[in-house]
Symmetry: C2
């Protein structure tokens, strides 16, 4: 009940600053200017997804800035490095959650044809579920996308895609960074993908797998427990809740499993060892698992071909995982297991994984 | 499909650092140690919710640290101020979203009796809806809490609380910072609150109301448009979607409206001018509206007493809004409008608003 800003200012809890800073500023020509006030820093670098680190220039007010070349329309993550100290952009409210590395992000708008652009189409919903996992021993969440027009009281049953995030992501990664709900909304509106339910669980089977110093992936026993308990939680906790709550078809032909990076390794490990449950299996930039494929997939052989509607293995050619993905595909070939190999431009980034999802979803069901 | 961490490291996009830092570290005695590596800073301050800024001490590795006194169990926000530059804690993945000021947060665990603690009780769900607002002219979202056991196919109808965030918050504030879903889960499990639906819309009627330099609140015309268009979007866009999608009772005795700060001003403005729609009205630390109460509530008089099941006006005595809240209560008294005045310890913070919700919810319906 106040007229003045002054009395409301305490809730902002921001230090008094000499002048407002606009950052990032996305220009009409798709160049982007970044600004960061830090008068005492000796050097400030812009660290941007898909680009080399670039030195920013300081003005007389102590504001560092840099303007990029024209960028392809997309969503990019970035941080500032001030004398080696990483920082999000304090003038940008768009941040990307991650257990090890919170970053800022910006959007270079593009044509409506880009699947991650929000268009004036019917929108689906994103549901967050919470439960105590007795398999893993923690309180956790999972997210469920329902397509536009989904009616929980109707008889129609939907196919379901189980979609996994990467190492150090939270369960919200596929919606917060991957725009999975926006991508599905657009593809469904265009008639390019079937209306489907997408289930996005928390991808860890060992609660201590992601630690501050990221030692989890170095420990093969912990890593194996992570994958096995993840599978057990998926089968005995997440899937039963989903099948009780949502109108999903329960036959293997109506179930797909996919994931990125660690989640790609999980989708292969879980899916290829459970062909009785899943007919559609995909991995994006799979990484972080053992290369002892015979031990990981002990019963996989050409008899899988009759069960698999799709085995889709994608990786960017600029991705550090490309060599191990090629090794895995060679092994599949040696076992006479058929698959669709997909090599794309790009590295180990969400720029690739959003496109992977947009390419995969139309192939499903 | 890799054994080594090295090949996975690029996705972390973190600069190489000499040694892992643990921050914050919440000790068993409820003291908390914060650490921040910044070898070149001349001064680093800890800015913590509910406390004075405190100077941190630098060690020979350039790591600044400070340990607090024992803190009451709660959830607190904080930032570091390095030579005046505000930063989240790069070693803490718990951040709090805000349009003007992203912060870090930490949790000092307390007994299960605290309503924001996650307990082993049935959990409700949080649903995120997306739509294009023709009233405001933007793409936006709203969140809906459904209580444990909610069955969209059942006949039972639930009462509904419309719950509004504050200035510069996103629509997710009441779940991300307010723990509204956890609080309701606990109160419902204890039998202290009736199972209810909680609807948390985006609280802006003018898309440019929150700007980088926070000029919105200074402009009375923009501010008024913000409140009016917010009400129009609530009545003609959000409420119809909610009443179509969820099993909510549609009579005024089953509808409550409440909010914090700007959202408190909105709940009073919308609710007291629409007693045909709402029988339960509450504000927490209401602020940011005109003090011309006669103009804001032109038809409010003692005839409201027969319609109001509750008018609950709460504010912390350490809050900058306390004076205007008292003025408003004096005005209500002068109009013979009955209300429940609630003055609590605390300032303009979520520490107060979580408790406000926990105190209000048992009074409703």
């Amino acid at each position: 009940m106040l007229l003045s800003l002054l009395a409301v200012a305490p809730m902002l809890a921001q230090p008094a600053q000499p002048a407002p800073i606009i950052s990032p500023e996305v220009h009409a020509d798709r160049t982007v200017t970044f600004r960061f006030r830090d008068p005492n820093a000796k050097e400030v670098l812009l660290s941007r997804e898909g680009a080399q680190k670039s030195a920013m220039q300081k003005d007389e007010q102590g504001v560092w800035s840099i303007t990029t070349d024209a960028l392809d329309p997309d969503i990019y993550r970035y941080t500032f490095l001030a004398d080696g100290v990483a920082s999000i952009d304090p003038n940008n409210s768009l941040t990307t959650p991650n257990m090890l590395n919170t970053q800022s992000a910006f959007h270079v708008p593009g044509p409506a044809s880009l699947v991650w652009e929000i268009n004036d189409v019917p929108r689906g919903e994103v549901h967050r579920h919470f439960y105590r996992s007795s398999i893993v021993g923690d309180d956790r969440d999972f997210f469920v996308y329902t397509p536009p027009g989904y009616d929980p009281a109707a008889k129609k049953q939907y196919p379901v895609l189980y979609l996994f995030h990467g190492y150090s992501d939270f369960a919200n990664a596929w919606t917060a960074l991957g725009y999975a709900n926006v991508i599905l909304d657009n593809l469904i509106a265009r008639g390019q993908a079937k209306p489907m339910i997408v289930v996005m669980p928390l991808g860890y089977g060992a609660p201590d797998f992601v630690t501050r110093n990221a030692t989890g992936l170095r420990d093969p026993i912990l890593r194996q427990r992570n994958y096995e308990k993840f599978r057990d939680a998926l089968f005995t906790e997440v899937m039963p809740q989903v099948e009780k709550t949502y109108r999903v078809a329960k036959d293997r032909n109506s179930r797909a499993i996919a994931g990125l990076s660690m989640g790609g390794a999980e989708s292969l490990y879980v899916g290829l060892n459970a062909l009785d449950r899943f007919a559609w299996i995909a991995s994006f930039s799979a990484g972080g698992a053992s290369e002892d494929f015979a031990a990981t997939f002990p019963s996989l052989d050409s008899s899988a071909n009759a069960k698999l509607r799709l085995l889709w293995i994608a990786c960017g050619i600029g991705d550090g995982q490309i060599a191990s993905n090629r090794k895995f595909k060679d092994w599949l070939t040696s076992k006479d297991v058929k698959f669709t190999p997909v090599e794309t431009p790009g590295g180990h980034t969400w720029l690739v994984w959003r496109r992977n999802l947009a390419e995969l979803a139309p192939l499903l069901f």
